[in-house]
């Protein structure tokens, strides 16, 4: 079992002919992801990486039966691409584009919310169900099928966590990188319920960082829902000075909001084990996994 993406997922790639789009599509294909189409306006009728290219998402859905969009287009066009995917009736959109104007995303998020599509991202590394499929940037070699769900704001740290869990033999059900932007399609509270409902997920690793209050909301959700799988959390940015963007557009302490300590306290208060290092994350998961 897994969440959001598996062997049956049929992916169309918005921006398949771009340099990045082409590289990562190949990586995804190599991993086993079923890529069924590309969408590049004006290039309909062509072929790329062995799949047909369409002018519009609607056409790709009709002709190739895509159900998921992988959106990897320049920032100025990304919000529109996300809305196109949502309007075409897709089930899932994964947008990795970094640098999208935040008010573009405000509009896109409102638009998406009125459709049936779940959006992951933007500015996210994507997601991976080891042994089945991945969408996005997560390196092909890091995952291993297993019992831990991972949900994270940062990319590289996610890879580290996955690698650690894999090396320790725990493995992952699905790892979801929700992204580092201030306005995201999915936040922790959107993903945690999916792990709650997935019987194969026996524990969850939550990788947060400074900025915003998604981690605090996650803690509230854990408390309110009675979520009873072990949660191991890791928060980066304890040394970050207030008012500075730490690489991610969303990683910024504003006034009294967004500090690492606030997030650590909130998560600890609902019973999550908060790790000081990635090594600790893996160890704490090992101690908490049922039957370990």
């Amino acid at each position: 079992m897994a969440i959001l993406v598996d062997r049956s997922t049929r992916v169309l790639v918005q921006g398949i002919t771009g340099r990045e789009g082409s590289f990562h599509t190949q990586q995804m294909q190599a991993y086993g992801t079923t890529v069924v189409a590309g969408v590049v306006p004006g290039r309909g009728g062509a072929e790329a990486l062995g799949v047909p290219v369409f002018d519009t998402v609607t056409a790709a859905v009709a002709a190739a039966g895509a159900d998921t969009a992988f959106t990897i287009v320049p920032p100025a066009f990304a919000a529109d691409a996300v809305m196109e995917a949502a309007a075409a009736g897709l089930r899932l959109g994964v947008c990795v584009t970094e640098g999208i104007p935040v008010l573009d995303m405000v509009r896109a998020a409102a638009f998406v919310q009125r459709t049936a599509m779940r959006l992951v991202g933007p500015n996210c590394p994507g997601l991976m169900t080891p042994g089945e499929a991945k969408i996005g940037f997560i390196p092909n070699h890091v995952g291993r099928p297993g019992r831990v769900g991972v949900v994270a704001r940062s990319g590289t740290l996610t890879y580290e966590v996955i690698q650690g869990l894999s090396d320790a033999g725990h493995g992952e059900t699905t790892a979801v990188g929700i992204g580092g932007d201030p306005v995201l399609g999915s936040t922790f509270v959107d993903i945690l319920p999916l792990f709650a409902a997935d019987p194969a997920t026996h524990a969850v690793v939550l990788v947060g960082e400074i900025g915003g209050s998604d981690e605090e909301r996650a803690a509230e959700w854990i408390r309110a829902s009675g979520f009873d799988k072990p949660v191991v959390a890791f928060i980066s940015g304890r040394t970050a000075p207030p008012g500075k963007r730490m690489g991610h557009a969303g990683a910024i302490i504003s006034g009294t909001t967004g500090s690492a300590q606030g997030k650590i306290d909130a998560l600890a208060s609902v019973g999550a084990a908060v790790a000081g290092t990635i090594e600790d994350v893996v160890r704490l998961v090992g101690e908490r996994l049922p039957g370990s």
Binding site: M105, P139, G212
Partner: protein, 395 residues
């Protein structure tokens, strides 16, 4: 990108929001001219931060002579690192009441919030902390913008906490509708994550005037607002070229690097991925070191980028050692290793380098590093301990 007060006011005026008459002065003489023209004026330091008043950056003057004198004083100031390059000389207002009206990004709601408070003239965060009931908010649909009824709801909610305005609340609510709609549209048009009028002054004539303004443009959208950025740069840079920004950060921006400076730290920190670099800083501090910076070389960076990063980090002479933390996904360990060795040799780097490297081609990378006499590692906490040891305890 935070605009200066006078830029914000020019934007307000452009869309029809009333602002007091004012003149920008870059010299004491210009300030005196402004006072001659406008009479009693406030002379206000133009710096892109709050708290000017407390720092002595605002003076109210009655004569051209006083304007000249105060402008000379203020133009010689540096407020929290920002040299004052210009002053805004503005005619005074008769004040019946001070309100706050603002638009700001609410991450949790994924929308712009429209905020009104009858407690204007204070920092809105302070009001929020001390008397949250005096702040009213709505979150308009991002496509529709605020509807009249939403602004009225906002207005009646905020004015309920201002008994002296009870009588006039219907008229005020009606006047706030176009004002709030205009301010929201301005924020959207300028990609502003903050666009506020504080105080919004109610005058004896019953008009609403923007007595001060704050406007911050989303950095991701700066490409749509090049003229504003150019205008701001012109206003911030004096003849000495200093903008008040941290000079290392300014340099990093010019070089296109994602860099944050932590002045006084002794350990340079470089990594790939924002979370990873933040964690690198955390690890250094955890074992007693003082990180000097955050530098994210991003995904798939090659030798050239690593070299540029090292050069940037070492431009601060406080840096006495560098910790490079790489998780090889798309980024290849061997390539990074080659970049590090090459940069060290070409730049003649003498401070200790510790490179933690894992993931794609990690063995090859570590081999290259070891052969060149650079300390490799696979565990980040261990590598952090190592650099702190090498730089010296309490570093």
């Amino acid at each position: 990108m935070k605009l200066l007060e006078h830029q914000a006011k020019r934007q307000f005026a452009r869309v029809g929001i009333a602002v007091p008459a004012g003149r920008l002065a870059r010299t004491p003489e210009e300030a005196a001219d402004a006072a001659r023209e406008l009479g009693r004026v406030a002379v206000k330091a133009q710096v892109p931060i709050g708290g000017r008043g407390k720092a002595g950056g605002i003076a109210v003057v009655d004569s051209p002579e006083a304007a000249r004198r105060e402008a000379a004083r203020i133009l010689a100031m540096e407020i929290r690192g920002y040299p004052v390059r210009s002053v805004w000389c503005e005619a005074g207002l008769e004040i019946v009441h001070e309100l706050y009206l603002g638009v700001t990004l609410d991450r949790e709601r994924r929308r712009l919030a429209l905020i009104l408070s009858a407690a204007g003239g204070m920092e809105i965060e302070e009001v929020a902390a001390t008397s949250p009931e005096r702040i009213a908010k709505v979150w308009p649909d991002p496509f529709a913008g605020p509807q009249p009824f939403e602004v009225r709801e906002l207005a009646f909610a905020a004015l309920a906490h201002a008994p002296p305005l009870a009588e006039a609340r219907g008229r005020l609510a009606a006047a706030l509708v176009p004002l709030a709609q205009t301010l929201h549209r301005l924020a959207v048009d300028l990609d502003a994550v903050t666009c506020e009028i504080n105080p919004l002054v109610l005058t004896p004539e019953g008009t609403l005037v923007a007595a001060d303004g704050k406007l911050e443009v989303d950095e991701n959208a700066e490409y749509r607002h090049r003229e504003l950025a150019a205008e701001l740069a012109l206003d911030l840079e004096g003849e000495d070229g200093r903008t008040g920004e941290d000079p290392f950060e300014a340099e990093a921006k010019r070089r296109g690097l994602t860099y944050v400076h932590l002045p006084g730290g002794s350990i340079g920190c470089i990594g790939n991925g924002a979370g990873l670099v933040m964690n690198t800083l955390d690890l250094v501090q955890q074992v007693g070191g003082r990180p000097n910076n955050f530098l994210d070389i991003g995904g798939g960076a090659g030798a050239e980028k690593v070299r540029a990063a090292l050069e940037m980090v070492l431009s601060d002479p406080d840096v006495r050692g560098v910790f490079i933390n790489i998780f090889g996904g798309i980024t290849r360990g061997d390539e990074v290793a080659r970049g590090v060795v090459q940069a060290r040799d070409e730049l003649g780097i003498r401070v200790p380098l510790v490179v933690r490297m894992t993931g794609t081609n990690e063995e090859e990378g570590r081999r290259i590093l070891a052969a060149a006499g650079i300390v490799p590692g696979t565990s980040a906490p261990e590598a952090a301990r190592k650099i702190v040891e090498l730089v010296g305890g309490g570093a």
